[in-house]
Subunit: 333 residues, 2 copies
């Protein structure tokens, strides 16, 4: 295992300390319990947004703390849910008096721990609601979930719900916007190589030199099937077809097309995938009006990509376009 | 070789086509000859900025085309200098009547082809000046250079000179700003793994499972020495010390600290390197007032990182902070 680390057990806190030093204008990193909140604290009267989950998916979630997106993020250990305590502290830090929304990826540990934290926060008179993101069409149940996994669609939920909170929507309205995104977003990914969790010291799963895994999870959980290495256009189609089928999307609709890198794939390959995905969508009469390409939710150094399609209407488009000012996503500010 | 590509010979044009489709508000991709220019064309009365070089370092350079940075970029084949013809066309596209600056990384092929293109442009009555970036302190001469290589400092030259052009500086003044950055920026990198150029089909160089290369070039050119795999703090010190020594920088000075990923390294590891680099600088009495962390100049899927330090004064800080609106770097707009 070759990694730029010191102690496998200290990767998350040492990395987050550096993150805090690099972005003092955006975030404050709290060390015990470990969570990240906005520099300047909660915004009075604004609905607070909190997300979190296992580390190893950077820039998700801490990279999205800032104006127009999250108020706090809770990084767990690598690929491991954060416990209720830091989620509670993050919820308190995010509370501006208008309630707090928990944005939770659908993994059993995350769901349970966020629920517990929400109960603890309610006991301290903070109103908490939660949405669960489950955009991955690859498998119905999986290693760590009942139901579908939450993957790259989470970034879009955080951005768009964040914009709704920033414009002054109340908690129910922000929940409604988040649910609207969840209802209209689908994703599927592929792994070319496995990744290695530092404290495990060996690859999370096996892939032969000539095979890839279609429908991979962001922790290397099994997908739909392993296939022989194929060309990018064929892989793109294999990811996009189930996404479109599940979205039941038709000619004339507008979409956001998001090609996400798993961490170890060159940006040039992501754009190459985007190129063909755009053509496939155009061929079906869909109009790609917004796009996102890059490493936004990763699996350490895994090589691979995911494709996400979000059906857009006017409201979602406006909220997507709204200013955002975070370490990992900045626009219009 | 596992890559998200179709034909190894078509990676660059297919990827750039996708890049153009994803960023129509920022860029226009010209296919023959291949170059990228700002959407909306040259800005009348503004000095035009053009950079370019071999592909495989994305988002460099095309990702930096847009307001506040480059006016055009010329991607060559993978790790191969672009020929004079597309450089000439990019220069013409960037010319707003106030002259054009070529920002060239110090590689023999790049320097020669940009020189030839400049002569051709002068014959068409476009005034061209060039600066050569040579920030890599690892080796004096190398596989592809006489003198030092140009690496991550190039991103800072493009950003800061771009801001000078945007505020209305004339060509000589933009050259002076670019030279000031070049004089005050130094870098050094490390490779944990080699990368594979698609049309070569095998890794560019060999590294054993337990060794890393200190002072690696962005094309996998030999660095200073191979050493046994070490902890991140030790590697950070080995990169930072020659950088600081060469900069002759002393206590009380302000710097921008830039930790760049080579393409295949998780963001968490880059922040972990940043964490210790920040401490080392603080320990020497230097003040880190600006920072940049991420994959800004890469070597395909190479695992590794580079550390860049730029000595800041008030002018460079202001120009660094100026708005920029490109696909890969966005701030203040």
């Amino acid at each position: 295992m070759k990694k730029l680390i010191n102690d496998p057990q200290r990767v998350v806190p040492e990395s987050l300390r550096g993150f805090g030093l690099a972005h003092p204008e955006h975030v404050v990193v709290h060390e015990d319990p470990l969570f990240v909140s906005r520099a300047g604290g909660a915004v009075k009267g604004k609905v607070g947004l909190v997300s979190g989950g296992g580390s190893g998916h950077e820039p998700l979630h801490a990279g999205y703390v800032g104006a127009g997106m999250l108020d706090a993020a809770v990084p767990g250990a690598m690929f491991t849910s954060p416990t209720p305590e830091p989620i509670l502290e993050a919820t308190k830090a995010a509370d501006g008096g208008a309630g707090v929304l928990h944005i939770v990826k659908n993994y059993t540990g995350d769901v349970l721990n966020f629920e517990t934290a929400a109960e603890l926060a309610e006991a301290e008179d903070i109103t908490v609601k939660a949405v669960v993101v489950n955009d991955d069409v690859a498998v119905e149940d999986s290693l760590y979930t009942a139901g579908r996994r939450g993957v790259a669609g989470t970034v879009l939920v955080e951005k768009i719900a964040g914009a709704a909170a920033e414009r002054g929507d109340d908690l129910d309205a922000v929940v409604a916007v988040a649910e609207k995104v969840i209802k209209n977003v689908r994703s599927m990914g592929v792994a070319l190589t496995a990744c290695t969790v530092p404290h495990a010291g060996k690859p999370s799963f096996d892939l032969a030199d000539d095979e890839i895994e279609i429908g991979i999870g962001i922790h290397g959980e099994p997908g739909r099937h392993k296939i022989a290495m194929a060309g990018a256009d064929e892989i793109t189609e294999r990811l996009l077809e189930p996404v479109l089928e599940d979205l039941k999307i038709g000619s004339g609709e507008k979409v956001l097309l998001f090609v996400n890198g798993m961490g170890g794939t060159p940006l040039s390959e992501l754009y190459l995938v985007y190129n063909h995905a755009h053509d496939v969508l155009a061929g079906k009469g869909l109009e790609v009006t917004r796009s996102l390409v890059g490493n936004y939710i990763t699996s350490l150094e895994m090589q691979g990509a995911s494709i996400t399609v979000l059906r857009l209407d006017e409201e979602l488009t406006q909220l997507w376009d709204a200013p955002v000012n975070t370490p990992a996503l900045r626009r219009g500010v």
